[in-house]
Amino acid sequence: MSTGEPGPGLPDGRSPAALSVRGLRKAFGSKLAVGGIDLDIPHGCFFGLVGPNGAGKTTTLGMVTGLLRPDAGLVLIDGVEVWRDPVAAKRRIGVLPEDLRLFDRLTGAELLTYNGLLRGMAPGVVEARASELLDVLGLADAAGTLVVDYSHGMRKKIALAAALLHAPRVLFLDEPFEAIDPVSARTIRGLLERYTAGGATVVFSSHVMELVERLCDRVGIMHLGHLIAEGPTEQVRAGRTLEDAFVELVGASHAGAEELGWLGTWSA
């Protein structure tokens, strides 16, 4: 296994950001999913990626985490070029994927254990961290239950635990708070805030604007495969709520209510 030394950084010579993306592009057949994205996320940043359904958020996250080969473009994580050395990049990141494809015939504890062991962590460390994570995320009682018997929210939490286990420098979370109960959501928020305060970077996608507004230092708004706005949250909001800014930027392509006038005419 190579250790994947940090690369020289981007051609323009800036210091390696947590995540740097240049000209990232992906088409599925004739459908352009992501049409050329440039993005820099500094270390310690809490970054929110928002956009309507089908905007290309998940495709983008897949490409920057080494799960989906882009058609063109450059992705650097902590200075490591993801598509030149995917293994070195994967060692630096934790991912909560959208589809939660887990080994669900393992118990929660086993899932974490094998995740850690297959990442080359020492068994003692894995065991200590796994039990701590299970405690914090409220899964201690379900540690011996097979993941296949977990609820959706519990699956999310165990997948999050698996993503955190190796203390990655950059954490990518696709819809982390969906299906999570309010108590756990608060715990996870606190955990992530503490994590970024320690210098780690969190990139997450969400549809919940209030949450993004409250948590994120920076936001990016995606629409039709392009990053149509990106920067510090305050700047993107420009005095409005993030939701208003979002709706304004994404535009009126989303139908207004007046087109569905018949919804007020009751059938019985």
């Binding site: 359904n53 985490t65 799960l67 060692r91 887990l102 015939r105």
Partner: protein
């Protein structure tokens, strides 16, 4: 690394067993028992026939090796959806190189009932052909080479097809595979019968061409190496073994390439896939969407985690749902829970629907479900079996 992958596979097998209720465990035990006669039958065949009828030895080994290889290619395809340890995309998030994975997964693939049965059967060849002396090492090597062919070939094929196997099309493919393998089995039986006939007439000459053709397949090379080594032609055996090794390497390379592809084409935008009542009826080969809908309306409450979606619709549009007949009062949303394996959802649903359809028609037993159970029961303790029946635990 490899050790952890073996551990992972063991844990998955163990949990698959642990999760089953006692009737399923009996079924699994029966399945394992069904493997035993096959294993020992193969052992006796390979151990006794060559001694009794030396001229038939090569052909026998060639045929047995080829059948073993084909069996290893086909059976995992049938159990893929239920056996997570066969699905490499679940390892995509881990920093593992395809090369490491090939090595580790090969080792993990040697764990289980099917590999054990295969090794027992192949052990017969060592008894049947081995003679004390330097040839014995080559005989053992030939048997192990055949085993490696089976393992690596099976996993390479599975990985290359893993993406398709996860889709709805997999069902169609599985049907084709089952028909083809049934056909092949028939063919093998006919060949076997004819072979026996010829043997009685001591007319092996006519089978020469077949022996020659089979002998150039990788499995045939392994068979020839085995026979040559047993008869002291060590140089020829070594050359043939080198040929088998090349074949294993080629399959390994294919596996490696497929893994690389599978690990870098995450299905972020799969087409929407929806399981409709019509599909359920089609699965059962019985009734129609309306009957299934009616059964669901009347007895739907017994299905624990029913979800109309076969696999969660990610980014796609459940277009088919719009074309389907009305859902007849089943509260889909209430029972909706994202489930990864289609079987996990479809299993209890199928069971319930088939039971009710059968009851409504006063049939003694649903033949489709019966056949399906039989097919998998004969395949050893397969994690798919608990998947198909998990409804019972919840109900």
């Amino acid at each position: 690394m490899a050790g952890h992958l073996v551990g992972l596979r063991l844990a998955l097998l163990r949990n698959g067993l642990r999760r089953s209720s006692w009737p399923q465990q009996v079924g699994l035990a029966l399945g394992a028992l069904a493997g035993l006669p096959l294993a020992f039958g193969g052992f006796l065949l390979l151990a006794l026939v060559p001694r009794a009828e030396p001229r038939a030895g090569l052909l026998l080994v060639e045929v047995v090796f080829l059948l073993l290889f084909c069996g290893w290619g086909l059976f995992p395809l049938l159990s893929f959806a239920g056996d997570a340890s066969l699905d490499p995309s679940r390892l995509a998030l881990l920093p593992l190189r395809p090369g490491e994975l090939v090595a580790g997964l090969s080792l993990a693939a040697c764990v289980g009932v099917a590999p054990l049965c295969t090794l027992v059967a192949l052990g017969g060849a060592v008894v049947g052909f081995g003679t004390l002396g330097p040839g014995l090492a080559l005989v053992v090597a030939a048997v192990l080479a055949q085993f490696a062919l089976c393992i690596v070939g099976s996993r390479a094929l599975l990985t290359a097809l893993s993406r398709q196997l996860r889709s709805r099309k997999a069902r169609d493919l599985v049907i084709v595979v089952v028909s083809v393998s049934a056909l092949a089995f028939n063919l093998a039986l006919q060949v076997g019968a004819r072979l026996a006939e010829r043997l009685e007439r001591s007319d092996l000459e006519a089978l020469r061409p077949l022996v020659r053709v089979l002998g150039w397949l990788p499995t045939g090379l392994a068979a020839r190496a085995l026979v040559d080594a047993g008869q002291g032609r060590l140089l020829a055996a070594t050359a043939e073994l080198a040929g088998v090794a090349l074949a294993v390497l080629a399959l390994g390379w294919w596996w490696w390439r497929s893994l690389e592809r599978v690990l870098t084409t995450a299905e972020t935008i799969p087409p929407g896939r929806v399981m409709t009542y019509g599909d359920v009826a089609e699965w059962l080969a019985e009734g129609g969407p309306r009957q299934v809908g009616r059964v669901m309306a009347l007895y739907g409450g017994a299905v624990p985690r029913f979800q109309s979606q076969l696999s969660s619709v990610r980014g796609g549009t459940p277009a088919r749902a719009a074309l389907e007949p009305p859902q007849l009062g089943v509260d889909v949303a209430e029972r909706r829970a994202p489930v990864e394996e289609p079987q996990a959802v479809v299993g209890p649903l199928l069971e319930l629907v088939s039971r009710q359809l059968a009851a409504e028609r006063q049939q003694p037993e649903d033949r489709v479900a019966g056949r399906r159970q039989g097919r998998f029961a004969s395949h050893g303790p397969d994690p798919r079996i608990p998947a198909l029946h998990r409804g019972e635990r919840h109900a």
